[in-house]
């Protein structure tokens, strides 16, 4: 999964980020609320076929690293 995939997940979940999605911003900085978070986590898990959990203070880069490490 890469940065574009994360952008696609946001689009699929109809979540409009408050700032541009880059690897350095946290999910919280993107303006993700608890429902957004739940939907995003569900969508990512569906795409990678895992049961992962994320925190709002994780950066997008950290999320990607985690996903890709457990998906290998």
């Amino acid at each position: 999964m890469n940065l574009q995939d994360i952008k696609d997940v946001f689009k699929e979940c109809k979540v409009t980020p408050e700032v541009e999605i880059t690897e350095d911003v946290t999910l919280k900085e993107l303006g993700v609320d608890s429902l957004d978070m739940a939907m995003i986590v569900y969508e990512i898990n569906e795409r990678v076929d895992k049961e992962l959990e994320f925190e709002a203070d994780q950066t997008v880069g950290e999320v990607l690293e985690y996903i890709n490490n457990v998906s290998e």
Partner: protein, 330 residues
């Protein structure tokens, strides 16, 4: 029923949130979304206004009893809106107060029955209005019980929302002690902004009062094509809900929301639609589901333009092949 992208038949679930979603002026804002919603609300107001001192649509006056009716009315109006757009549900689940709206929409309760029983319910809840409070915790039932045991408190679980999300109710001092311990353990919690508390055995002695105050209730004939999953008594069916005993049990029993969502998933649910002005139940429901392929649809969301949010939901629903009719312009 609808066919998902793999051609499998899936069920649609309507979720009705509890009283925590109430917002000042929400009915007025909903009326700006569509004339269909306004019409449903006005029809409900014609009934409820006969029994209440405050008019349903006069949102300048705020008090717990009428606000509860407004929450139920908003959910009924949103349900009718979706049904008018061609989206009907196979399964109905109400969280706490939301079960009244779900029961109305499945033919179990009339508007008159809703207002009479909610008024009686509120009369009982007002007895402990200043004594009880509620709090949502991000911990398991076992961890909460461990804290109770260590601290000697007597709070009750008011709602089982998901594996690690519960709501508790208890006297102020007990809730404060529990919250202090949660803070020490770095466990998230937040107080629920409702007047007093519900789903507590503290109200058990007031059954006769509920039976008497609610007066004569004529229950409806439950719709055969709409299944309601009880969150009060797991396994109870629509017929069981056609008694005043059930609705008293609703006051003193915890909400088994997690079980209800899992039952819906087991029954082949493919889409959950939240009918609240704040989609609180949707976030909770997602936490219960590991099965892939389910669509999660909020109707409206706090801080977002209602019409834009509904258009987004229309788009998502249409994208999975469910035909919906845009009735905004009507």
């Amino acid at each position: 029923m609808f066919l998902n992208k793999n051609g499998e038949e899936k069920k649609t679930v309507f979720l009705f949130p509890g009283n925590g979603i109430h917002q000042t002026g929400m009915l007025g804002r909903l009326c700006t979304v569509s004339e269909d919603i306004r019409s449903v609300l006005e029809d409900l107001a014609d009934v409820t206004d006969k029994y209440t001192d405050t008019a349903l649509m006069d949102e300048t006056v705020e008090e717990p009893a009428i606000n509860q009716l407004r929450t139920v009315a908003s959910e009924i109006a949103i349900c009718k809106f979706w049904e008018g757009c061609g989206l009907s549900a196979d399964i109905y689940i109400g969280h706490s107060l939301g079960e009244y709206a779900a029961a109305y929409c499945t033919g179990i309760l009339s508007a008159e029955a809703v207002v009479k029983m909610l008024t009686a319910r509120n009369g009982i809840l007002s007895i402990s209005q200043d004594k009880l409070k509620m709090c949502a915790l991000s911990c398991s039932e076992d961890e909460f019980k461990q804290i109770q045991s260590e601290k000697g408190t007597n709070a009750e679980i008011a709602a089982y929302n998901s594996k690690n999300k519960i709501t508790i109710v208890g006297i102020h001092s007990d809730i404060d002690v529990i919250c202090a311990e949660l803070r020490a353990r770095k466990i998230e919690f937040f107080p629920i902004q409702v007047n007093g508390g519900s789903h507590s055995l503290i109200y058990k002695p007031y059954k006769e009062q509920f039976m008497s105050d609610s007066g004569d209730i004529e229950f409806g004939v439950p719709c055969t094509d709409k299944e309601i999953i009880s969150t009060v008594i797991p396994g109870a069916g629509a017929k069981d809900m056609c008694t005043k005993d059930y609705w008293f049990a609703h006051i003193i029993s915890p909400v088994h929301f997690s079980d209800a969502v899992c039952t819906a998933v087991d029954e082949n649910a493919g889409m959950f639609v939240d009918l609240g002005v704040s989609p609180n139940t949707l976030g909770i429901a997602i936490n219960n589901v590991k099965k892939p392929g389910i669509k999660w649809i909020p109707t409206v969301r706090v801080g977002q333009n209602y019409r834009k949010q509904i258009r987004d939901s229309f788009e998502t629903i249409s994208s999975i092949g469910v035909p919906v009719i845009d009735r905004f312009s009507k």
